[in-house]
Amino acid sequence: MPPRLRSSNLSPTVASCPPARPQSISQPARISREFSQSSCRQITLRRRKFYEWLNGPGRALKQPLPNSTNYLGAYDRYGNLVRASPGWQAKRTPKRNQDPDKESGLTEKAENEGEKPEGQESADDLEMAVRRQENAEKEKKKKAKGEEEDRLPPETVEDLRPFPLNKYFRSQPVLSEELREAIYQRVKRDGASVSLASVEFGVSNERVGAVVRLKQMEKEWIAQGKILAIPYSKAVLEMLPTTPRIDPSLPKNKGKRPITHEPINDLIVHPATRQQLFVPVAESRHFTRVDAGKAFDNKLLPADDRIPHPELVQVERELAAGLSFEKRRELAEERLAKEQEKKKKEEERKQAELASLKTVPQRRWDFVFKDVSVDSVGRNGRDPKGVGWRYGFPHEDRKKGQVKIPTKVEA
């Protein structure tokens, strides 16, 4: 059999995306190798496509956009920023004029939408509205200054998708530096309770605690003169969407409410409520949430008690009942007193527990002695709460396959 004719070394025509032909294709496609008759076009084709994408549509993702997020979901297949006006694109690549009408129209719309953030349905809509408003304001300021810089319109939900295929995930805003500082000051300097700060700033209870803890540590670091990662922090916060701080006490923020960062009254879906239940109930019966909870599980409390801020419900109820201001204040003070009593008791209990321990300090570690009871092993002597070596109940920590990774670290 005669050797197969080699095809000419013409580079195959590749359908390329319109905006930019790739500048650097690493090497021309080799049709065949010396040692083999089979072609290796597949591999080079893939690599070529990779570089084509990287130098074409993927180019815009290499650097962060100034004052904006830069996610894959914000671009179309050809690497055009969907939300940007054509003028912006033109300005970014070569220098060209853009039409100001469209830009101003967009901002107008954004302004109208962002007028009342509290009127939105869900917290997510709200946060979007707030972002829009913020950006619109920035824009206005720029306009007022008379700068000839055209800015991007604010992001929509689609633009915040780092994974375009997953419609159920998006990059949610994080707390801005000012807001963190404000929360810290409110809790540490003004002595507000965590739940109060949570309601005021629209930030969940756990997050308030975490912010205070982290800020405290940051201040300690500054006091110790440790090196902070300032450039990193700045760059990251510029890449992420952030919730700005709105201080209602300032005159320019008159009539504005602080922005809700996240929904604060999240009810955890109890496993007992996952099933579907059909409970026949007499029409005459007053069947409330409490009864519904009982139908699922006898120990299931109603939502009013399981949400993180039951005191808000209480206040609202008193308001609806038409109680006078003095009466309501009286009730609130009563509740506060009860809460403080509880806290005090807890503190006392902790102190008593600590006092019952006997500590003998050593060079590296301390010996801590604690009174135990032999009866804690239970009736069959196998209760894990039992202390010390028990006959017939071996330690398993030297056994194969026992995991030694700690399950918790004391704070």
């Binding site: 994974f163 450039p231 996952r274 949430r289």
Partner: protein, 414 residues
């Protein structure tokens, strides 16, 4: 033994948990699963293999199977006003006798439980470090743990598989974070060549510029004289405007344009005097004292002359002087700030001055179950990730059907 497949292969595109261009490319090429032409087993298999290549590929399949939970956590946001106003009986009330309403209540969006299949992996320390943007890949985060650069609640934690509990604080060495997320230091042959070419081009342009500028410069030198009071006043007004701008700015702010503008005007104002040469007024302090002295002398000298007595005295009032001084102080602080925090440093393992690495912005997001303080490179794991109406908190790049198929793969009875 079979050769291990490439981590980033163009032949089998897999999305990996890192910030590389290969991951970005495979993200852009992802498609929803083909559910028509393949058997259910095939669909589940490929869904499982795709998702596992992203979620915890460093964990053995056996270990992951033990981690898997079929109960997925979710929350429902409640409205406290609604809870206060209604006790729930209105939903159970009879629908007869005209109690039906025509308007349909708004149905809340679907809760995407199926995107939460891999939520136990998000609890791992290495994954949490990656999600807090402290490492550029999960493998790197794992290495940080193993190398002892990670602390949990202030104690060193060398296990990447440590399962974080709600309320745990983890912190990574800031220099390692800067290394992981910063642009790479590179001195390859091509980079060297490019740098050389650029330097040559710069030198050439400088030569050209020098050839054209000297006569102009000489002219300005010749023209420079003691400024007239009108000129001085105009410049002082511009200067004070910039001073206002600078004073409104806090040190270390993102917008450095104001500082730059202020510096420009100061230079311009000083450029009026012919006695000023660039060497004598190079530092900020000398610039300030120079300005002050000359303005004071100008305002003192013409006081004898009746014609121009008014303008020079109003040139620099004591308040204005104070303001100018604070502005200079701020400018000095700002320069110190940049030089202290982000200076050129040949010994650093990343490109200095620090800048984020390529393609970082496309992957930069922080899920809500973490609260991060970037300044100290510490974060708190607030709670386990949850699904809520219309939103799943586990960051997964796959289509919801892929997630469903993968969940079903692990659901099977064993």
């Amino acid at each position: 033994m079979r050769k291990k497949p490439r981590f980033h292969s163009l032949k089998k595109l897999k999305v990996r948990q890192d910030w590389s261009r290969w991951s970005l490319y495979s993200l852009s090429q992802l498609k929803p699963p083909n559910v028509t032409a393949r058997t259910y087993f095939q669909q589940k298999w490929s869904a499982k293999s795709d998702t596992r290549a992203y979620h915890g590929e460093q964990i053995q399949e056996k270990k992951w199977k033990r981690l898997f939970r079929r109960n997925l956590p979710a929350v429902v946001p409640m409205d406290h006003k609604y809870l206060a106003r209604y006790d729930g009986s209105e939903q159970a009330a009879g629908r007869g006798a005209g109690a039906d309403t025509q308007e349909k209540p708004r149905t809340p969006p679907m809760t995407p439980y199926m995107q939460m299949a891999y939520y136990p992996i998000e609890r791992r320390l290495d994954t949490a470090i990656f999600r807090a943007l402290f490492a550029s890949s999960v493998r790197q985060a794992k290495q940080f743990c193993v190398h002892g650069l990670v602390k949990v609640n202030g104690k060193k934690m060398p296990f990447p598989g440590y399962m974080l509990n709600p309320g745990d604080m983890f912190q990574v060495e800031p220099s390692s974070v800067m290394f992981a997320t910063g642009a790479q230091k590179r001195r390859s042959a091509t980079a060297r060549k490019v740098a050389k070419e650029k330097a040559a081009a710069r030198a050439e342009s400088r030569e050209k510029a020098q050839a054209s500028t000297p006569p102009a410069e000489r002219e300005t030198f010749a023209a420079r004289e003691e400024p007239t009071p009108q000129e001085l006043k105009k410049h002082m007004q511009a200067l004070m405007e910039d001073v206002e701008n600078v004073l409104n700015e806090d040190v270390g702010a993102k917008d450095k344009q104001k500082f730059r503008a202020f510096r420009q005007t100061v230079k311009k104002a000083i450029g009026l005097w012919k006695t000023a040469s660039p060497e004598t007024i190079s530092t900020l302090d000398t610039q300030f004292s120079f300005l002050k002295d000359h303005l004071a002398s100008r305002s003192a000298a013409p006081q004898a002359e009746p014609t121009t007595s008014e303008e020079p005295t109003s040139l620099l009032s004591p308040e204005d002087q104070q303001k100018l001084k604070t502005a200079f102080e701020k400018l000095r602080l700002e320069t110190e700030h940049t030089s202290a925090w982000n200076k050129r440093d040949a010994s650093a393992p990343y490109a200095t001055p620090w800048r984020p690495r390529d393609y970082m912005a496309a992957f930069a997001f922080i899920p809500r179950y973490l609260e991060v303080n970037q300044n100290i490179c510490a974060a708190v794991y607030l709670r386990h990730p949850v699904a809520r109406p219309g939103l799943a908190e586990v960051p997964t790049p796959f289509h919801i059907e892929t997630g469903q198929l993968a969940f079903n793969w692990y659901l099977r009875r064993r």
